[in-house]
């Protein structure tokens, strides 16, 4: 546990007794979650459907606000400040906490404009500056080589795997502090999946990354810290080597050995 239980100021993200519910309290999705994520680390959250892993992600950038009847108790801190605090500017929060979805959704624009959209929103107008940002983001997302000759053609003609890496580039271009990925490879072929995983491993030191997956094998491949969520509870958290070789909890063992989920 020690590896992922930092305290106080060294946490990038910290949940303290954080509970979350839908449907005006009818459905409890997270129960008193306590969890801390260090800056510059990658946490893989695995768990079956309904485990609350996606709810946790969508609380972090407050996308859950859009659903009527949600509620929470406890605290969810980013850099020690509650993301549900009164003074929080949600748009600003979402620029700091980027998100990649299961289904890649390129804007109906060119590849270049897709990546430049976020920086433009932030008020960057200079063409040269945008060029630099776009190229850097595409390179970091390991897609630049594939698209450099057609930056100005439609992003919707890219393959699924390319679109997903473009989505990552789009997030990177806004220069976020935290990157959330919600089953980013669930619609991809094995090869594209490996490329995304490889990209994430390269990015982990520069950002704080939270990856949600229902696939224990993916968690094992990435070899990061792993948290196992089950029915809205954090069952176990620790380095992948620990979780996959010596799970402390029976439920974790059942999940990684494929007994359920």
């Amino acid at each position: 546990m020690s590896a992922t239980a930092p305290t106080g100021s060294e946490c990038k993200v910290q949940a303290i007794n954080f509970s979350f519910s839908y449907a005006y309290g009818e459905t409890k999705a997270l129960h008193s979650l306590n969890l801390a994520i260090r800056p510059g680390s990658l946490l893989t959250i695995m768990g079956p459907t309904g485990s609350g892993k996606t709810t946790f992600l969508r609380a972090l950038n407050r996308l859950n606000d859009r659903v009527a009847g949600t509620g929470h108790t406890g605290q969810l801190l980013l850099d020690g400040k509650d993301v549900y605090g009164q003074e929080v500017d949600v748009a600003e929060l979402r620029r700091r906490v980027g998100m990649v979805f299961a289904l890649p959704t390129p804007l109906p624009l060119s590849i270049y404009e897709n990546v430049a959209y976020g920086p433009r929103k932030k008020g960057i107008r200079s063409r040269a500056k945008l060029d630099t940002i776009v190229e850097k983001a595409l390179k970091t997302a390991v897609i630049f080589e594939e698209v450099k000759d057609r930056l100005h053609s439609s992003a919707q003609r890219l393959s699924g795997g390319q679109q997903q890496r473009l989505a990552l580039a789009r997030v990177l271009a806004v220069d976020p502090e935290v990157i959330l990925l919600d089953e980013p490879t669930s619609g991809l072929d094995p090869l594209s999946t490996l490329r995304i995983e490889e990209t994430l491993r390269q990015l982990r030191s520069d950002f704080t990354i939270v990856l949600v997956t229902h696939d224990p094998l993916q968690a094992a491949r990435i070899k990061s810290d792993v948290a196992f969520f089950y029915l809205g509870e954090l069952v176990e958290i620790g380095p992948a080597t620990e979780i996959f070789t010596r799970p402390q909890d029976r439920r974790t063992e059942d999940y990684i050995t494929g007994k359920f989920g």
């Binding site: 979402r94 979805f101 289904l103 959704t105 929103k121």
Partner: protein, 282 residues
């Protein structure tokens, strides 16, 4: 058992075909009744003639063709932005509760008989236009306003469905980048829903061009080509409805021929619109 299955299948096929058959018979009938007028007046003469005076055997329906076009276009200018705006509000900004009240209310508009719309136009809009803008009040403007409101339910509910059909993740992708709701709608949701919105516009246009009663009551119905929005106007449908009651001989055939022209125009519009929609969907 097997035989019963077969019987039901045949029965349903017949029922399915019957609606197509009815359409076929209608087309056959109006063409049969209308074609002699084309033969006698001359097709070109009929559709480009600017005088409609059945008593003197002057049978040109260009004023009515122009009237139908101008009134329909006016209705779309009024109804499309209103309807689309309403659909965007309902689908993207209203709370579930508000939408649950507003949407059925708007759909209720579709259930109001057109003669009631015409009556309201006649007693409110026509005097208003006469007093504030001049002219007789019975005008292109009055017809466009009445029709614009009448096409709202079609426009709203079809484009609302199109907007709702856009996967939520499209919006969320934008919001996650720090966009506002409106930016997400403008950049992603509207482009994604465009085919459906176009379909809504087509249906609305069909409704506008075909509407008869409400238009007769507020349009003034004089057979001249309107040169201003305040001029009275007669549409193709009005022309048929107004004169069919007493027409005989060539006059009667000419009214059926008006129907043929209307039918052809609507078919062409529908076809073009379908091609456009399909082109956008791919």
């Amino acid at each position: 058992m097997r035989n019963k299955e077969k019987l039901v299948e045949i029965l349903l096929t017949l029922i399915g075909l019957s609606s197509v058959t009815v359409l076929g018979l209608i087309i056959l009938f109006i063409f049969k009744e209308g074609l002699p007028a084309f033969a006698q007046v001359g097709l070109w003469q009929f559709v480009t003639g600017t005088r409609w005076s059945p008593g003197k055997n002057l049978l040109g329906i260009l004023p009515m063709i122009a009237g139908s076009f101008v009134v329909t276009a006016g209705a779309l200018v009024v109804g499309l932005p209103l309807g689309l705006g309403c659909a965007i509000y309902l689908s993207e900004f209203a709370t579930a509760k508000t939408a649950a009240i507003l949407k059925p209310t708007i759909e209720l508009l579709a259930g109001i008989p057109s003669v009631v719309f015409g009556f309201i136009g006649l007693t409110l809009m026509v005097p208003f236009i006469r007093n504030f803008f001049g002219g007789p009040g019975f005008s292109v403007l009055a017809s466009a306003l009445v029709l614009g409101i009448m096409i709202l339910p079609t426009m709203v509910s079809v484009s609302y469905d199109a907007l709702r059909a856009v996967p939520p993740v499209y919006r969320e992708g934008m919001l996650a980048l720090g966009s506002t709701d409106w930016q997400a709608v403008k950049m992603v949701v509207l482009p994604a829903a465009r085919p459906g919105i176009l379909a809504a516009a087509i249906l609305a246009m069909g409704r506008a061009i075909g509407e008869t009663m409400a238009v007769i009551m507020v349009a003034g119905n004089s057979t001249i080509i309107p040169t201003s929005f305040l001029d009275p106007v007669r549409t193709l449908t009005s022309n048929i409805a107004l004169e069919m009651g007493y027409a005989t001989g060539l006059h009667r055939q000419a009214l059926f021929a008006t129907g043929v022209v209307l039918f052809v125009i609507i078919s062409i519009l529908n076809l073009t619109a379908r091609v456009v929609v399909r082109g956008k969907t791919r």
